[in-house]
Symmetry: D2
């Protein structure tokens, strides 16, 4: 197989998971702008997600968020997905929208609230069993807003205890993905604020506990690709929540704010063997003002383009330049891949996969947008329910 | 008058404006936690604000936010305030919560939306006339989320045009206070992102246009007291929106995150003559998880303490050390004031004003919290309505 | 002329000014690593700069830094440049390396120090007269390290006074370019910390005073292209100091850290008419660990590529998408230009200009690097002299 | 023992280590301003450090930096210290100022350079043996400036290998303290950029490897006290490099930029048992423009004041408020300690220790500053040697 053929083959195996909540309404604390045609239940979200997969060919799974995607019959939901050519992906827990969680969930000073939170997490594992999901994705809004509000260290103890209880419940082949975030909604301390904290907990829990990197959850100036390389080296990178940001956790389309950073991240993934391992590539975005399905298609394409460029890096030339201490030469090898226009290559890949070369145009022409606007009338549009 | 007497006299004239919306529910995009006893209309908000003034003695005015505080009869609202010992302060406009404002308001590409936004601003001036308010506070959520989304420069042209139209409508003694903010809810460009942009617009508009400094609206590392000193030197500091932040626009209680910064800001205010001029000292905070009235009382006290310390700086000794290039000596003069415990002094000031020395305790004992929880049952609690 | 022809024509007129000091040694406070073959005087720096122009065709001028480039006979220096096909560009002042400047220069509390600093600036204008330079570039290291160290406002008064004196001295066709910087070497206040401060001073001085944007001099999260658009709209953008940064004022090769940002900046320059006006495009970089001449060639090429992409934006399609509120469509138009590989186009442009298509290769092959290493033996290598 | 007596007793046992290099000249990449009277060798640095201990009573040890403090006879140096009432503290390695280290030291692509770096570290352990030092403090300037320059992961492998070799060499009771830093002098990747990386390496090395927190080495917005609490909980906090910063690694006097942060850090130290354990409290500062010895005395006092406030927190009241979810009450307990003026208490403590109550005044009056200016004439002033 030629090198280009290998790159193409790799691109055809790519899998980007889209999040059910990105198909619903979202916004900021200032305003949620509703959009016509937005799904009203998890089944309609899967319908939309199936369209993304239909036109990109690389979005075969859909993450759920509980309770936003709570249904009576999860087997039926999984069946609904299958019928449309997609599968249920990670189960995302929510321990931040119940009134009891005002001061935290799994880290709350009150044992009763902690118990409730852990109960929810265990329920999520039940849903994993029912849907065949591999991953339980845990993001905790836990933290404090004011110095002194709670004891930083005791909260870590409670966190460790709660996580251990859930970890015990995981079945064969199931994983716990622990996400970290610098701040928001907590504004002074966050109980899992950085990769180091997530890593330390996962290390103690065991092999099924892995760290998730959300690309919008870092302090300004953080070198995310370094974290990716480090977690891969430690065998602790469970997956990504992709999105992009200019300031904080902006949740814009991945690749929109800093495409070069996305490329560098994907380069470290390729370099560290993450592209062919169990690393989950998930989107976690909010399309507050733009059309949702097209935004997600565009995001998937952005990940594809960054991946294609990363795969095209001349590894041999790079290694040679690095070994010889040729700073400019090594940088040039990397930039040569980045500066390339990989869109023609991806059009070819799609055609070889039996897809239209331009997913955006194909989606536009298929009439789905008009159809859902016409049909999804009445009912309650899906959203965060904040 | 001795120096200490002068400091006390100054502290007795202090006026901190509290915002009506801080008495209602607020939260993040993730969750708004409702609190029992929260006001259900602008009249009840004024009742709560009156309590803050009753116990602090230095919170005589209340800012309104339109349309959150829309009422049929503004004269009646002003009368209600007066009867409780407070007055209506600044009128805050809202051009971010109507569906039409998805892509902006006064900077929107569509002239019809711009017209609607300007219409709202003009209505706010009508309300100023009706309530006797001096200040129109303008914060625009306008901006873009994606590169290319709109034309940065055209948006400035539209902004200038809209502001000019509103400026023309201002009556004698009325002012327009233009607020800037780095980001949120817009995530790529914000149309008034920094003091320079606000200043440039205000300069062209005229003397009635002044800049507002919200202490949570800057990029990390920004030296806010420098901006305060600069705007005072330029005669363009209209006022403050006080709050505190560790990360972004956290809207925590002022003085909670960095009390030394608040002191430095108040020192520049005193130094630049802002304490005795028309600079408006307003709070703009969100008490998402803590009790609202006590949080506002505490915030007012924090401003008082910072002010007291700023007033206590030995100006003569400072100037002498500065002139002689004594770096450590000059710093020590400033720190000596900061390191002082001014709480006893403020207790004295309150007693001389006929107030209880400890406003927090006095409020706790007055029974208001229990009363409103018992009485404010039913109806719709006030909030941001996002 | 076809559109592509117009783009090519524009690219052929591009002029990037390289800084004399980038050819000498530089480093961090931790270490300056010397490189073999580095120039030992301003004449040798010009020799190197001429090589950059020889192979790129778009680097016709060289900025000087006084006193680092102090010579007896500036006319001879200008003649030396001319003989090698380049010209003297901006004159950069230095008021931070004399022991007298420990607490500032033009803002120093001591009038004698201020006088000395202004004297140096006036001398720089003399050098402009002698070399035919148009621009006096002013960057002040002035500021304070500790709260209270000096009076923020008085320093602004001194700054205004000093600038006015220098402004008066400017001749016909000469300009003063005022640079701002968030921090370093001052760590608490900087006297010209942001574009707003520089703008306010330039506004009062007059038309010959313009703001310089150094792309590494902002707080994290600052939207630089917004500042560029705003200054162009105000007629106050004098030029750029290009470089790139991941953290602070890293002074890396422009385009190395965030090529998409550089593209967005160049797009606003093109959009705002800055590309065909008097805006000066200067580099200000430190090649601490990489070979200097190749790094500068690469930097010039990076600016060219960003410019080419900016020129290729389909302005009509962009305006249409923006006017219709098509967020994704407008973004896609911009990204389409950015995602293009413009290197083939630039190779064509170079060949049409009679240059080798690949400046890096051409330089490598010309033997200059080996020649200077062999010949520049003995003497004192040029550097910052810190 | 009453509570206040316990606080006093604790304060009397406090030990702050001062760094030999802070007594010498330092500066930024722009300029090192020399100061009269600065030491010319390690013996004179110890003389100055002894003065700090003489007047504060809590600075009994002095950190050395090799090779800046290289001497023929380390036993003699230790004896010199002892004679003046102080001891040698941590040994700080330097693998960034040799020309070989342009592309790194222990992480360098070339094995020969790595070997040289490890050799230096082993030599530092020899010096520990000779001086009786307990701690080897490792800070690596290693990193890269440009994407692609070197392989991120391979550098981690080399780092692990080198650290392991040095760890093996440590004797009984000796420790290796690994310091992390976000950036500078490397501007793209740093090989130990955050606490997570340092922690992961120390974990694998063993109990003698501990993490050092330099308070100026974090990304903007990082919650340092959270890291402190976490490392104490993990048993991996080896010590502090105290200083303060507004922007980057400004190396200002500790407590000068954010005294409330210093208090919060010391509170977590006290809370986590770090105050009475083996945690080393070291200063790492640069007194670029202020007098060095007084700046260090002031810094030690700032640490004392923050510690006193932390010790004064009413732990019982705090725990009660935290347990009951009283956000404002818990915050108030913490702030009550912070808002106290502990200077009178510390004056008492000093008098009980047989010291003058005001160390700054006592130092000023002792004539040391004038003496060293007069005597330390000729020779080469100590500095970083960059």
């Amino acid at each position: 197989m030629t090198e280009l053929a290998a790159v193409k083959a790799a691109l055809k195996t790519q899998a980007v998971e889209t999040p059910s909540w990105a198909y619903g309404n979202s916004g900021t604390r200032f305003k949620v702008f509703a959009q016509a045609g937005v799904p009203r239940d998890p089944f309609e979200k899967l319908d939309d997600a199936a369209k993304v997969h239909e036109f990109t060919g690389v979005a075969p799974t859909v993450a759920l968020h509980i309770p936003w995607d709570k249904v009576e019959d999860y087997a039926a939901l999984a069946e609904h997905a299958k019928a449309r050519g997609v599968r249920i992906g990670a189960i995302n827990s929510n321990t931040f929208q119940d009134d009891d969680y005002r001061l935290g969930s799994i880290c709350h000073p009150d044992a009763a609230v902690r118990k409730k939170a852990v109960g929810h997490l265990l329920e999520c594992v039940d849903i994993m069993d029912a849907t065949g999901s591999r991953d339980l994705k845990l993001w905790f809004a836990d933290g404090t807003n004011y110095p002194g509000q709670d004891d930083v260290r005791s909260r870590q103890d409670r966190l460790a205890e709660g996580l251990a209880e859930v970890y015990e419940r995981l079945g064969e082949g199931q994983r716990m993905l622990l996400e970290y975030k610098l701040f928001e909604p907590a504004f002074y301390t966050t109980d899992v604020p950085d990769w180091g904290t997530a890593y330390a907990h996962c290390l103690k829990l065991g092999d099924k506990a892995q760290v998730v990197v959300d690309t919008g959850h870092h302090a300004p100036g953080t070198n995310i690709e370094f974290i990716v390389a480090t977690l891969l080296r430690e065998g602790k990178l469970g997956g990504f929540d992709f999105n992009s940001r200019f300031y904080a956790d902006d949740d814009l389309m991945v690749g929109a704010a800093d495409p070069f950073q996305l490329f560098r991240i994907m380069y470290e993934v390729v370099r560290g063997g993450g592209f062919t391992s169990d690393v989950a590539f998930m989107l976690d975005q909010c399309h507050n003002i733009e059309a949702k399905i097209p935004a997600i298609i565009r995001s998937v394409m952005n990940v594809q383009e960054a991946t294609a460029k990363a795969l095209l890096v001349d590894a041999e030339a790079l290694a040679a330049a690095q070994a010889s201490g040729d700073v400019l030469g090594a940088n040039a090898v990397l930039m040569d891949a980045y500066d390339s226009d990989v869109r023609p290559l991806l059009r070819e890949v799609r055609q070889e996969m039996g897809l239209a070369p331009d997913p955006m145009a194909a989606y536009r022409e298929c009439g789905w947008a008009e159809k859902v606007v016409a049909e999804r009338v009445g009912g309650q549009q899906a959203g965060w329910g904040a």
